[in-house]
């Protein structure tokens, strides 16, 4: 199962839960499950990108996850 980590202050939106393992084939299904579990995450998620196995993706919905995938929520960045 892929594991998503709630670090960097996001634990307050998950009731202190720091990670969640989800049997999800893609990022889209993973995030659907996550926001069902933790509805309070929906708002801060608007300002987060998603990193899968070290790569930050702008459009990760259809990215496939492996059973040992590590997913992090990362604040948005802009470049010059």
């Amino acid at each position: 199962m892929a594991t998503i980590y709630f670090v960097s202050g996001l634990e307050r939106y998950t009731g202190g839960v720091e990670s969640l393992s989800v049997d999800a084939p893609r990022v889209r299904e993973l995030m659907e499950t996550v926001t069902e579990h933790f509805p309070a995450l929906r708002e801060p998620l608007e300002f987060m990108s998603i990193a899968v196995d070290g790569e930050i993706h702008q459009h990760p919905d259809y990215l496939k996850l492996s059973p040992d995938s590590e997913v992090y929520l990362v604040p948005r960045i802009s470049g010059g």
Partner: protein, 753 residues
Amino acid sequence: MSGERVFKYVGTRPIRHDGLDKVTGRANYGADFTLPGLLHGYVLRSPHAHARIMSIDTSAADAMPGVKAVITGADIPKTTGVVLLGKEGRYDLGDMGDNLLAHDTALYEGHAVAAVAATSVEIARNAAERIIVHYENLSPVLTVDQALAPGATILHDGLVTKGQPLPDAPTRTNVAMRTELRRGDVDKGFAESDIIVERQFTTPMVHQGYIEPHACVARYGEDGQILVWTSTQGQFIVRDCCAGILGVDAATIKVIPSEIGGGFGGKIPVYLEPVAIALSRKAHRPVKIVMSRDDVFRASGPTSGTKVRMKIGVKQNGTIVAASGSLYYEAGAYPGSPAGAGAMCALAAYKIPHFVIEAYDIVVNRPKVAAYRAPGSPSSTFATESILDEIANRLEIDPIDFRLKNAMMEGDQAPYGPKYGPIGLKQVLESAKNHPHWKAPLGPNQGRGVACGFWFNAGLSSSATVSLSGDGSATVVTGNPDIGGTRVAQALMVSEELDIPIERVRPTVADTDSIGYSDLTGGSRVCYATGMAVIKAAQDVRDQLLARAAKIWDVGVDKVTWDNGCAVPLEPSADRTSLTLRQLAEQMPHTGGPIIGRASVSAPMAGPAFAVNMCDIEVDKETGVSRVVRYTAIQDVGKAVHPSFVEGQMQGGAAQGIGWALNEEYLYSPDGVMQNAGFLDYRMPVASDLPMIDTVLIEVGNPLHPYGVRGVGEVPIVPPLAAVANAMNDATGIRFTDLPLSPPRVLKALLRN
């Protein structure tokens, strides 16, 4: 993997295709374009930092001979749309539209309030001066301290703190966003620390300082079709922002990018284009607007002034165990400072088990900030790297050894979450330690400083086409304005894939009708992400050539391979011998027609860059004047496609960072009027101020790119602020925490000590 590939063209240093035009002055920049019947626009700007607009009377201007159109904020629709750059950039078109021409309130000195199109610039300016604007002055909020003070004037009613606001955050606020990064138990970490250093740092608002001012020409046709010629970092961003703000389909707008005389992030937003379109629509003639340097300073994106409180704890053996920081970044008049990125970069170079960083995005009555090379990172890194220097001194450890002991490596978890892939921080630090600069003796009144820097590097979307000509030469077309030599880099990639000499590859930056959507030139992404599209497009050409050879030989395509620039039959015979690319190109009409390779990518954001800078500074202790006497920039560049332009990026970033450290700053009167809006009074370094900046390229391949390329354009500006300040500390014994280190500030500190 890139390390195993032997390159023939990549890594060489050919003359850039646009070089001759640029050095002879033939290249066409934003202000060079003209059209029959062209009108000239002039923008009237607020003299007040914060004032409600009670009324605008344009009748006298309208009546002037030669005036063809006058517009105000009422001509720019209020919109709530956004333009998204993946999940990274988010442009609020409501704010952007209000910044173009204020609707209700002037939010900074220089905020546009009206615009005139006339038959000459002089007439337009004179007409603008006849526009009567009645203001009701409001008290300005110029600093983060003023913005956060109890009872502070609130810039935007209804602004709420987004992101991760504190539970007791006030409902009326100037804080637009709070970001927090946290790991471990920071109290425990500090309790375990043998040495703790805590200081507050400030950096001033500075400008990107591009030599070419913003300029554009717009023509609104009677059929509603719009043409825009402009100097921009992203023609598609201009198109989409104009469409969103003006409420028209993107397909009605064609944006043609000019050559660009520098941007550094500052030429991403639109400032003039929708205004020129609105004037053209009203005047029924094309309109050109060119900013003056004064306009550029007062009304186009500088970067944030910042206040950073940083605390770092280490063990006696030099292991960093804890850090905490609070970052306060000025956003200017509308939300959107790079405070969050500053937080993510502040500790990105070091393994620290316990930390908490919070970052605040704060609106103030100054121009809305825009991106500036590695936005957010230089200011927070200045704090971290200054404190690390102080700790190394107290521990009597070599500052590079101290950094090496704590340096992030592949597999370590970045402070912003994911684990690093292959990164080159350790290699960069080791290169610095072994560099002759580090061991060279210093002269009298000289000091040496070192500092690290980190930047993420972006991915985003890019398109490319490669077209083959009948003579075997090729064109490569992309949608990214060339700021740093990316055209020649893209041509090198085509050469590499097809084995065509670089002189026979013509790279072109296309308008929005002539290439698929491409995100902006920024985030150090073009050589990396657009390069990936170029490589794929060239490979598409190669695949088509193999198919054409198979057709000529009447064999399956699986019986043909590509080798050394030729299609080679796997089962050769008398009439089946290798065909060169040129021979195949000559046969195109007979084998299926023109060959066009195309590709688009949505590249992940990875392959971060680390840099180390070493600075020697000499201080005149009677005047406080300082001079950088030696400077070395070392950087992990992944794979340098054209090393000269990588070195140029490193040198340019270092020069800008040195200027930020030593002299540059926006100076304001107490009522918020900028006092130094020109290059005479805003002191940027010029060539004679700086020594030759030495560069060392370290190549740790980025596995996400076929050649191992990493972005190189932004991280060079990150280390200089601290490298210069640390050198100043070494030279004077004084730890400076406020930039710039201008002669008056240095002299004052010297006299105090």
